[in-house]
């Protein structure tokens, strides 16, 4: 009799083991699927056009926008990303992310005082993107840019945060 019980107990244990194995197999695709949002090898960013150079007069800082390179049909308006373009001279630009380096709110440019101001927690930046006042830990994030066939292009596609943008790309830092 006890032999029977131990055999059934063993079979029950086998059942548990079998289900654990199935759960482990199932977990692989589920976790893989869930983690698919995390950066793939080729990255998220791509070169996108901001328009002809004539839109960005020398010495001025203007709002531009681009379509996020990695987008889905159901993104709607969220696929349109703004940025600030500062034309230093005909070939030298600074393209700043709209997101405050503090917590990502949209900074606004005031040409009269030559300052960027953030409406959330009061971060202030100078025209070159360096931090002027307030809580931001660094200057505005900058996109890499290039000029091709009289068009201004930037490498974009990722929300800039302290983690997703290395500190070396700081715009002037704390001056």
């Amino acid at each position: 009799m006890s032999e029977h019980v131990s055999r059934r107990t063993a079979l029950a244990k086998l059942g548990v083991l079998l289900n654990a194995a199935v759960a482990a197999i199932l977990a692989v695709p589920v976790i893989g699927y869930l983690l698919s949002a995390i950066e793939r090898k080729r990255g998220y960013t791509a070169w996108v056009g901001l328009g002809p150079l004539s839109q960005f007069p020398q010495g001025q800082t203007r709002l531009a926008s681009f379509k996020n390179p990695l987008r889905r049909p159901w993104d709607g308006q969220t696929a349109d990303i703004p940025c600030w373009v500062r034309c230093v001279d005909s070939q030298n630009f600074q393209v700043f992310a709209i997101n405050c380096a503090h917590l990502g709110c949209p900074v606004r440019w005031f040409p009269q005082s030559q300052l960027f101001m953030c409406p959330c927690h009061g971060g202030i930046y100078y025209a070159d993107g360096s931090r002027a006042a307030g809580p931001p830990p660094r200057g505005l994030f900058q996109y890499p840019y290039k000029v091709e066939k009289d068009q201004l292009l930037i490498k974009a596609g990722e929300l800039p945060t302290l983690a997703t943008y290395p500190a070396t790309q700081s715009a002037g830092g704390n001056s």
């Binding site: 950066e39 709002l63 049909p73 993104d75 917590l103 002027a132 596609g157 929300l159």
Partner: protein, 493 residues
């Protein structure tokens, strides 16, 4: 009547849940616990049910798509019969639920109900609070307006401050590299499937434990909880001085619950639904992102923390706070239950309440935010222009044009980021004014590169006029030979 009883008996025989229901209904509770102080938990549960019902109704129309969510809310507000009211009830129900969960928690804490043997009830309660706040935040995201969009940016920016794994966590949170359609989809998933499932499951355990362990007795000063004796004492109390839950105790829960629900329905009818504010178009940067009421205190903290300690505080403080709450019954599982004998607990509650209240109030005013349109929208008060020279008036123009007003108030209006300048001339000498304007300092940017010498002269001559009549402007102590403390005093004749 007999037929009804027959049907009931037939069902009871097959379902076999009659005894359990009867046990739950007629279990004895301490007579003193049938109090108006013990009604918050049940009405929080009632509100959860209201949220489930109204949420299911809203999901009939709401489209969880980045491109359509905002439009579907407009449809609910304006094109569907009573859609606006269902949204309003859901929104106000959420506010009331957060408030009642906080009330319930405060009452449980002050009445020592978290002590032996109800430790696990407290711990599940802590997670119920977290999930309730999680529902409030994800619900705010589903409103998918400008506040939601930039609120997500703030969430991502905080996540991005986590060392080493910040970047993958940001992408996991947003469902990709940037706030977009997939971000909304995963917050929909959280708000509609994941958190509600956790919430309902935990509420079930929470309630089951209240039934199994019994409701907390009314705390009496001097009646000390001891692990060895408590269960016996409680059992005696319930048998000696107990009353059946139904109907002797439940009527207060039902009356209070009905009043709370009526208040939600009335608020919804009077104040209407929350938003949505502007459409989630990030290129519309003329926006003032603000969180919902219950997160205003976090908004304040994020503005007021010194930058140097901000990252460690926002990453470590939540862990410490949640850890302390979870561990509370383990380092205070016995002893006095009465608030009369627990001054530290009472002071802690007061301290937390006052801090949250002040931070919420500050978050509502947001004195740290520049008033983005003050320079063009608020005129310089008349009394600062009357009888002034052309140069001084020119200075007033420079003052407005250079957006000084966005951070500095004049005549009570303007930004509060920097000090009000109505009497700045009594605080700073002309030389100090020039230096402050050109070099900045404190929390003020340097204007040296953005002002030409003529503008500086005009601006400073305007600022020099800013003092009350009769007050003397600040003077350089070294030049006048007087102690600096004398400057700014009214002239004596």
């Amino acid at each position: 009547m007999n037929r009804l009883k027959a049907v009931g008996d037939w069902l009871d025989q097959r379902l076999q849940i009659g005894p359990a229901i009867r046990d739950a209904m007629f279990h004895r509770v301490p007579a003193a616990s049938a109090s108006w102080w013990y009604v918050f938990g049940s009405s929080a549960f009632l509100l959860l049910m209201l949220q489930v019902v109204t949420g299911i109704c809203l999901a009939l129309v709401y489209v969880p798509s980045g491109a359509q969510a905002w439009n579907s809310l407009q449809t609910l507000n304006h094109a569907i019969a009573l859609g606006w009211y269902l949204r309003a009830v859901h929104g106000w129900g959420s506010n009331f639920m957060v408030a009642l969960v906080f009330l319930h928690m405060t009452q449980v804490f002050l009445f020592g109900a978290y002590k032996y043997p109800r430790e696990f009830n407290w711990i599940t309660g802590v997670f119920l609070l977290i999930f309730t706040l999680g529902m409030a935040f994800t619900g705010q995201v589903l409103r998918f307006d400008q506040d939601a969009y930039w609120g997500l940016g703030i969430g991502a920016s905080i996540t991005g401050r986590i060392p080493l794994i910040g970047a993958p966590l940001v992408h996991l949170l947003l469902g990709g590299p940037i706030i977009a359609g997939d971000t909304l989809s995963r917050f929909f998933d959280l708000h509609v499937f994941i958190i509600p499932a956790l919430l309902l499951g935990l509420v079930g355990i929470h309630l089951l434990m209240v039934l199994k362990l019994g409701i907390n007795e009314w705390p009496m000063p001097g009646r000390v909880v001891r692990r060895e004796t408590y269960l016996k004492q409680y059992d005696e109390l319930v048998h000696k001085d107990g009353i059946p839950f139904v109907p002797d105790a439940i009527w207060k829960d039902m009356v209070f619950g009905a009043v709370v629900l009526l208040a939600v329905l009335a608020c919804a009818a009077i104040f209407g639904p929350f938003g949505p504010s502007g459409q989630p178009d990030p290129t519309i940067i003329q926006t003032l992102p603000r969180p919902d009421f219950f997160f205003l205190w976090i908004f304040s903290l994020l503005a007021l923390l010194p930058p140097g300690i901000e990252t460690p505080v926002i990453l470590i403080a939540p862990v410490i706070v949640i850890g302390l709450l979870v561990l509370l019954p383990f380092f205070s599982g016995e002893g006095e239950k009465s608030w009369r004998r627990r001054p530290v607990s009472v002071m802690s509650v007061l301290l937390i309440a006052v801090s949250l209240g002040i931070l919420t109030q500050l978050g509502d005013v947001a004195p740290w935010s520049p008033v983005m349109n003050a320079w063009s929208a608020l005129p310089v008060p008349m009394q600062y222009l009357k009888g002034r020279s052309a140069l001084e008036r020119q200075g007033a123009i420079v003052f407005q044009d250079k957006q000084c007003r966005n951070c500095h108030a004049l005549g009570g209006s303007g930004g509060q980021r920097g000090p009000a300048l109505d009497s700045v001339a009594t605080r700073l000498t002309p030389d100090q004014l020039i230096r402050q304007v050109l070099q900045g300092g404190g929390n003020m940017p340097a204007y040296g590169k953005n002002l030409n010498p003529a503008e500086v002269t005009a601006l400073v001559s305007f600022l020099e006029t800013l003092h009350r009549p009769g007050q003397r402007p600040a003077r350089d102590a070294a030049e006048s030979g007087l102690p600096a403390i004398d400057s700014g005093q009214p002239a004596e004749h």
